[in-house]
Amino acid sequence: MKRLRAWMMRLGGLFGGARRERELADELDSHLQMHIDDNLRAGMTQEEARRQAMLRLGGVQKTKQAYRERGTLPLVENVVADLRFAVRQLVKHPGFAATAIVVLALGIGASVAIFGFVDAALLEPLPYANPGRLMSVNESSVESPRWPLSYPDYLDWQRLNKSFRSLDVYSGSGYLLRTARGAEQVQAERVSGGFFQTLGVRPMLGRDFYADENRPAGPDVLLLSYGAWLHRFGARSDAVGQTVDLDGRAFTVIGVLPREFSFAPAGNAEFWVPLNRFSTHEKMRTFYNFWGIGRLRDGVSIPAALAEMTAITKQLQRQYGVTGRELSVSVIPLSEILIGEVRPILLTLLGGAGLLLLIACVNVASLVLVRSESRRREIAVRGALGATPLRLVRQFVAEGLLLALFGSLAGVLVAAGMMRLLGGLAPKDMASKMPFLGGVGLNAHTGAFVAAISLLAALLLAATPAMRLSFQKVRDGLADGDRGVAGRLWRRVGANLVVVELAIAVVLLAGAGLLGQSLYRLLHVPLGFDSNNLATMRVAAPGTVYKDDEQTLRLYREIVQRVSSLPGVESVGMTSMLPVQCNCAIDRIQFPGRPYHGEHNDVDERHVSAEYLATLKTGLVRGRFFTEDEDASKPGVVVINQTLARKYFPGENPIGQRVANEESGRPSTWEIVGVVDDVREGPLDVGTWPAEYFPIYQTRDHSFSLAVRARQDAGSLLPELVSTLHQIDPNLGVSDEAIMNEKIDATQAALLHRFSAWLVGGFAVIALVLGVIGLYGVIAYSVSQRTREIGVRMALGAQRGSVYRLILNEAGWLTAFGIVAGLVCSVAAMTLMRKLLFGVHAWDVSTLAAVATTLAVCALLASYIPARRAASVNPVEALRAE
């Protein structure tokens, strides 16, 4: 207690030192006066009295010093002095300080920003109750490790399993919403009744579904997403109880989901509807359309649950005689489904950012080292004047800390900017699939990360010169002739650092090169159609209006006729699904006349109009396209792609052969009338699937996409197309208007590849610049240290050419080491990130060669400048300088 009080007083004593000093001076003065008075009274002379008094006091300055030390905390005072001196040093060398801080800020900023994403995506728990126990529970087949459930299977799974506390399904669905401005196509999610309970999410307004609302023919009710409540109901609390017209049915709003709720697979779904109405095929055991999630019971492991579910599935397959699917089950943590896709990218980026940080620290450390070198004399003088080694080291530590502090502060600013920039890069509909983006920002986790890496940077920056200092004897610093020793030593340390820097730069450059190539190849995969000047949009026709086939057909024909007569339109086609979206809407086909043992003949199924494939400018290989009059009254026909022809009709002419499937639950056969080039239906980074195209006039979908071939700019056509469609029928829902090329650019595959290529590319450029600057620094320093040696050599008759060679030789070795080490590391690093590569190997020779050449050329340029300076040394000057 007493100690604490004294310590606090001393801490307080750090301030107001001047006042206390004055007071002590007064006190000592009065002390002396009183003593002198006494001495005079004892009969001494004035002079003697004063001398005796001073003697007894033991020296005013010494007393003052002892008093001062007792008055404050000398350690703290010294540290403050060190820091003050360090600040002065930095201010005096603004070039050095600014370079070091900017370099550190870049490195720290980049890694903190990327860490922000990693944290939000991979470390933050999902916004559900106890998310670790949530599983994606689905079927699984050889081709698709995660395959949706059929509804009857779901019911049986739910009834039979003991592993899950609850099991629920969801399925995306589009509805036509009637609004004051006409029909609008909206996204909704159909979910089983316990869906929100399983996730552990409660509506913020109203209530969750009741059990009976989930039964077949239950009431039409729905939950609103927070966004829908905000935008469609103006965030009014009386939204609950109102009705919403979806597909001509009046749904009662029973609740509003909380703001932080998001479920990535449902994207931007605005309405959440209980599963209580089923189409004909949804009641079938072989119609797989529902995705399952479950909450594991306590104490049940994933393998145990998987084993149980597999046994149940096998039993169901036997019981219902389901053939044709070797279905097993997949039980995977839900988090894996929600973020699994971005994990390799984020980890790669984090790796890249980490390397950048390392290179930045190394660079600043070598800067600090060079400076400590040039302050050798100053240090030696201070040492000779009595500064303890500890005190000298502390000086460097203070400077390192300051640099790290300012660097991290600037780095936090850089990080905040970068996070905002990167977060904004993701297009809206993709961002909705990455709900974690909302959590990206400066928070406790990123703060701790900043603190950790700043501390590491500070340690590195403080340790480098401190270590350097302890190598050196004070005496040597003062002596003149030791320059060779210290110089050589620094050259060795600095050279190692530069090799590390160059190696890192090679790794990042190689990464950027490979990712860039992947992106290029991805964007140049053969599409099988001409994507230029193609306008697309989604159209939904209300089933309440277009009840029978006649009406639907009439609508199709009117759309084709009206749109193709617009000026600027070359032709128009309709399809159930546009290309380059996904390998979904899959059909399982059989071949009449061939034995069938339940093979997985899964093919992409598209329903298209007669003009569609011609509008895409897809090449016809054999046979013919459909004709306008091939409707339901005619025999079923199908056009297949080359992959299907090659796979199932090798060496045969497929024209005239037949395929069979269950269309809308009815067994149907279709005659192959044409073979077309492979149109890439699925994403860019997945190989082409077999595909079949049925005439939309024979299948009659209520929801379809238009592909409009424009004569010139497709983008300017879009508004007119929308208004034309609304003229035909204001109740048509029109959405997703976009031109094809933009749509392709915005696909997930293209975006993710572009994102990573640009970022790693950016890192690589910074790394290259830093590495080359580092090399320049080392060589320039080496030249400055060897000026005398070079002068002697030249005085002894060395040619300028040999001086060049001397310097470039040194740089060449460093560069060569750096490049070789870097290449080895690159191959290892690229193998780790091969998931992100597309159409290019980790050991792609041309990329690695290009990287090595780039770096070598840059390194040569960087070392040429100091070499030139060395060669232009005037021997007389150089020797006189000594």
Binding site: M9, E23, E27, H31, R56, A66
Partner: protein, 115 residues
């Protein structure tokens, strides 16, 4: 004066200062120094300079308080007085000092005895 001795000296000096202030009432630094010398029968030759850091320490610990005033010879001087906490400390330390010296005395006596 070596480092180890200094600590002991500091402790005893503080005790002497406290005792002096208890006996004499408020007193300035010079007065305290002279008084300690006199009390010790001039056996202790105090280096007056060492007194001031000790006074500062006691002040920081709250055992004494200081105030500027005027001395008997009409000189401005800083007067120190014992606080209540200082009084308590004096009692405690005097007692512990007494114990220490008693133990030491007995110890020294016993080692000389066996002859």
């Amino acid at each position: 004066m070596g480092g180890d001795k200094a600590d002991v000296w500091q402790g005893t000096l503080a005790l002497m200062v406290l005792k002096t202030l208890e006996a004499m009432g408020p007193l300035h630094g010079y007065g305290i120094a002279r008084r300690i010398e006199q009390t010790s029968g001039n056996l202790l030759s105090l280096n007056y300079g060492t007194l001031y850091p000790a006074l500062l320490k006691l002040e920081q610990e709250g055992s004494i308080a200081a105030e500027w005033g005027v001395s008997e010879n009409n000189r401005r001087a800083k007067f120190y007085r014992l606080t209540r906490a200082g009084k308590r400390q004096l009692e405690k330390e005097a007692q512990s000092w007494g114990q220490t010296t008693a133990i030491l005395a007995r110890f020294l006596a016993s080692t000389e005895d066996p002859t």
